[in-house]
Amino acid sequence: MAESGPTTLGDLAFEVRSKNAGPFWVTMELFMRDAESYAIAADESFLNEHTVAELYGVDETEIQMFRIPSLNVVKISFPRPVSQASLRDRDIHSGQHHVPLATLLVPAT
């Protein structure tokens, strides 16, 4: 474990995962470690539709975000930018799309 260096969302989470939700949607979840790390991930001034649109090159208005304090979870869904299994789809199950979210640097405090 690196003790120094900037902290990512993934560092503060048990798990960050992504998956297809039917053929037309991608969904991802940040399972945060505790209420404190949840508060960082759920902070709308840090992680919001605009941030996600920048990370994934998708339309900000089509992003749905759910903040679930009882589970310390932030969930994000958006329509698949590329049709599932088409010529340009490189992740059929959208299973590896969590990485840009997990490696997002959290603001220094």
Binding site: A21, H93, Q96, P100
Partner: protein, 461 residues
């Protein structure tokens, strides 16, 4: 069966998908715990449109037969129904018949004679066009209005049934129900709803069990048992060493769903926004407060896939650090030279075919979204070509072959030789498919889009 109204119904789900396997002992344990029905999903759209478009199962026959043999014997011994949904992965008619033949063979082998219902869910494009004209088909986001041509272009269209056709099959005397495309939840919900359990807890429990042991501490250890009653449901793993916890159970509502609080079924919407999750002990969870809002209009969701062309794949690899240091430029050069060579030799413009160059080890998975920096150590170069016919796709891939073997970077004064993974390098993938339907049909009755056939005795009995 007695006439006493059921006070609770126990649903045994051995695994998230028929053919994925589970320890036989976990099914035994489910029977000991008093399972009233065995419900298992046989498919999904998860792995892409090929399985629907080509009407081919994702699972191998031996794996499906292995699981079915255990479940059929268990259902026979306990005298309880076995329900399989989305047979053959996509739930086409052919997929139902495929599972039905496996069941018939097992029944003959094992000397069983359980009455089997087959529920067919494939839809006729002409009939759907009439529905479309009548304004009874509506788009679901993110797709727009449906064009009649789109229906004609599909190789297969299925409707996702709710619990109603499955209930009808059991009421007509079936002990084994082999359903075509069904919602993942309908498979588990049918029997409890038939026995009078309330819709909120039933649909919520059904969503939680649809992936088998995924809501437990050890998803590989086997499935789960959900006990649904008039106030809620409890859930526990079938492996005594695994555990369900409130967090694990609640978190499963997030899995493969766009919205974690509401889920549409054909006859209404499950609403878990007020649900509470309580540990009864260290491995059993109680859920209460689940609601179900019955819809004004019953709807059936359509799935359809069509051929987008034919694909040929080729795979080379780069280890030379000089090329890797400028791998994006090299790939751009590959694309440019290939496009030019295809025009020169085949006379094909860029609108007549398409290809994708994927740099595995560099950015193949996430492309521009990849946060990593720095030159990679080695890169797999996949070329995927799509053309209106297989011959053209393969011709383009063969034109790429000398480039994928010898293309230098702009500053190299010799031809490198790159690392092909196979000989011949080209792999013909056959037809490629895409999903083109995400639309709901207003139904007249919950069962009229589905055809139920019941065999009183097994065919090979």
């Amino acid at each position: 069966m007695d006439n006493e109204p059921a006070r609770s119904v126990r649903v045994l789900t051995p695994t998230g998908m028929l053919g994925a396997g589970f320890p036989e002992a976990t099914v035994e344990r489910g029977l000991e715990l008093g399972a009233d029905v065995i419900a298992v999903d046989g498919g999904s759209t998860d792995s892409g449109p090929y399985y629907l478009g080509a009407s081919q199962p994702k699972t191998t026959r031996a794996a499906v037969a292995r699981d079915l043999r255990v479940l059929l014997k268990a259902a026979a011994r306990a005298g309880i129904p076995l329900i399989v949904g989305s047979c053959g992965t996509s739930g086409t008619d052919n997929g139902v018949d495929w599972v039905s033949e496996i069941v018939a063979d097992i029944q003959a082998d094992e000397g069983l004679s359980l009455p089997v219902a087959r529920i067919y869910s494939e839809q006729d494009a002409d009939r759907l066009k009439e529905q479309l004209t009548a304004g009874r088909i509506h788009p679901l986001p993110p797709l727009g209005d449906l064009q009649p041509d789109t229906l004609d272009s599909c190789t297969h269209i299925v409707g996702m049934m709710g619990h109603e056709p499955i209930v009808a099959a059991i009421e007509a005397g079936a002990q084994v129900v082999l359903a075509g495309r069904a919602t993942d939840t309908a498979v588990a919900a049918a029997y409890p709803l038939m026995k009078g359990m309330p819709a909120g807890p039933t649909w919520h429990a059904s969503k939680i069990v649809e992936c088998g042991g995924q809501c437990t501490s050890d998803p590989r250890a086997g499935g789960v048992l959900a006990t649904i009653d008039t106030d809620g449901f409890t859930i526990e793993p079938l492996d005594p060493t695994a555990a369900c916890t409130p967090i694990l159970v609640a978190a499963h509502m997030l899995y493969e769903t766009v919205n974690p609080f509401r889920m549409r079924e054909p006859d209404g919407t499950l609403d878990v926004s007020e649900a509470t999750y309580t540990a009864l002990d260290d491995r059993t969870v109680r859920v209460e407060g689940s609601r179900f809002h019955v819809a004004d209009q019953h709807t059936v969701k359509l799935e359809g896939a069509r051929v987008t062309g034919y694909e040929t794949m080729s795979f080379s690899a780069v280890r030379d650090p000089h090329i890797l240091a400028q791998i994006d430029d090299w790939a751009d050069l590959l694309r440019a030279v290939l496009t030019q060579r295809v025009e020169q030799t085949l006379g094909l413009g860029e609108d007549k075919y398409a290809f994708d160059v994927r740099l595995y080890g560099h950015n193949a998975v996430l492309e521009q979204a990849d946060p990593a920096q720095g030159p990679p150590r080695e890169v797999g170069v996949m070329l995927l070509v799509n053309a209106p016919d297989q011959e053209t796709a393969t011709a383009v891939a063969k034109i790429a072959n000398p480039l994928m073997l010898h293309l230098p970077t702009a500053d190299m004064h010799y031809l490198p030789s790159l690392a092909f993974a196979t000989s011949p390098a080209e792999i013909e993938r056959g037809p490629a498919y895409e999903f083109v339907l995400n639309h709901a049909v207003d139904t007249t009755t919950p069962t009229d889009m589905f055809r139920i056939e019941i065999e009183e005795t097994p065919r090979h009995g």
